[in-house]
Amino acid sequence: MIGANKKNDIDLIRRAAEGESSAFGLLYDKYHRAIYRFVYLKVSHREEAEDITHHVFLNAWQNIDAFEDQGLPITSWLYKIAHNKVVDYYRTRRFTANIDDIPEEILNIATGDDQELVQRRIAVKKVLEALRSLPEDQQNVVMMRFVEELPHKDIAQVLGKSEGTIRVLQHRAIKSLQHILKDYEA
C-alpha cells in the first residue's frame, strides 16, 4: 500500500511544502482516519482522540517543509507525531482510558439482538483491555497489522524495525492476547 502510493505521496508533500493547501488536504483525506483510530485505541475517548488527531495534522501541515524524503512513508512521520502527542496527553492530563465508551460502529451486528449486542460489547471491551496491557511496540504492531492491515514491510518502515522483528513482536502479541483472554468465552 505504502510502496504503491509513495511516489504520489512524495509529490503531494512537495506541493504542500510549497504552500499548496489542496495537496495537504488530499494527504489529510487519505490518512486522518488511520491516525484517528491509532490515537483512539490508545486514549479510548472520542473527543480527546479527535483533538489529538487535529493537532497531529496541524503540526504536520505547519512543519511539512521539515519532512525529508529518506525513503520512509509519510505515515511513519504521522504515526511518530501521533505517538508523541499521546505521550504528552497522558503526561499532562493523567487521564485513565474509559473502555466503556465503545464506539457504536464496532458493535454493528446483523441480528440487532440485545443480548448479542451486550455480549459483543463485553468481548470488545475485553480485547481492548488486553490490547492496552501489551507493551507499546506489540500494541503498535497489532494495531497496524490487524486493524490497519498493513503488510510487515510497511510496519517495519513505520516503526523503524526489521521485518523479522515485526514478525516476532506480532507472534508475542498474539500469544499474550490469547493468554490474557484464555478464561473469557465470547
Binding site: 484517528y36 485505541l41 480485547v127 497489532v142 490469547q178 483472554l181 465470547a186
Partner: protein, 177 residues
Amino acid sequence: MKPKEILHILQSLKDIEPRKDFSEESRFLILSTKQKHSLKEYLPSRVSLSGVLSQSFLSHPLRAIAFTFAGVLIIVTAYTATQEISPLFLPGLNQGKVVAEAEMINKTINIELDRLEYFDATNKTGSSALNQVTSKQLDHLNQSILEKEAQNIGTGTLSPEVEMNEKLNEILKQINQ
C-alpha cells in the same frame, strides 16, 4: 477466547472512524492556518551581495535597467558637482593674481598680530603699575630707597627702653669694677 475470535474483533476495530463533522471542520481549520516557514527558504544557501543582485536582476530585467540608469546618473551628477565647486578647475584663472592676493592677506594678518603683541605688552605694564599702587607691602619698592630708610632709622634717637638698658649696663660694669 480463540485466536480467530480475537482477530475478528481486532479487524472490526477498523470500523472506528472520526465523526464526519469533525473531519470537515478539522480539515478546514488546518488548511486555513499559515505554515511555519524557516528563514532559509527565503535565502540562498550562500548569501552574497552579487548573488542576491544577480538573482534579483535575472528575475526582474526592468529592475536591472533602472539600477544601471540610476548608477550612471549618480556618476554624472558627482562629476558635474566637482567641476562647479573646485576653483582649480575654473577656466581663465590668473594664478599670479591669486598669489598676490594671498600675500596681501598674509601681510594684513602679520600687521594685526604685531598690534596684538603691542596691546598685550601695554596691558602687562599697566597692570604691574596698578599692583604697586594698590599693594600695602613694601616688596615692590626700590631696594635703595629701603636702605636709606633703614639708615635714617638707625641714626635717629633711641627709644627710652633701649636708653634705659644701656645705662643699666654701664652701672653694672662700674659695680663689677
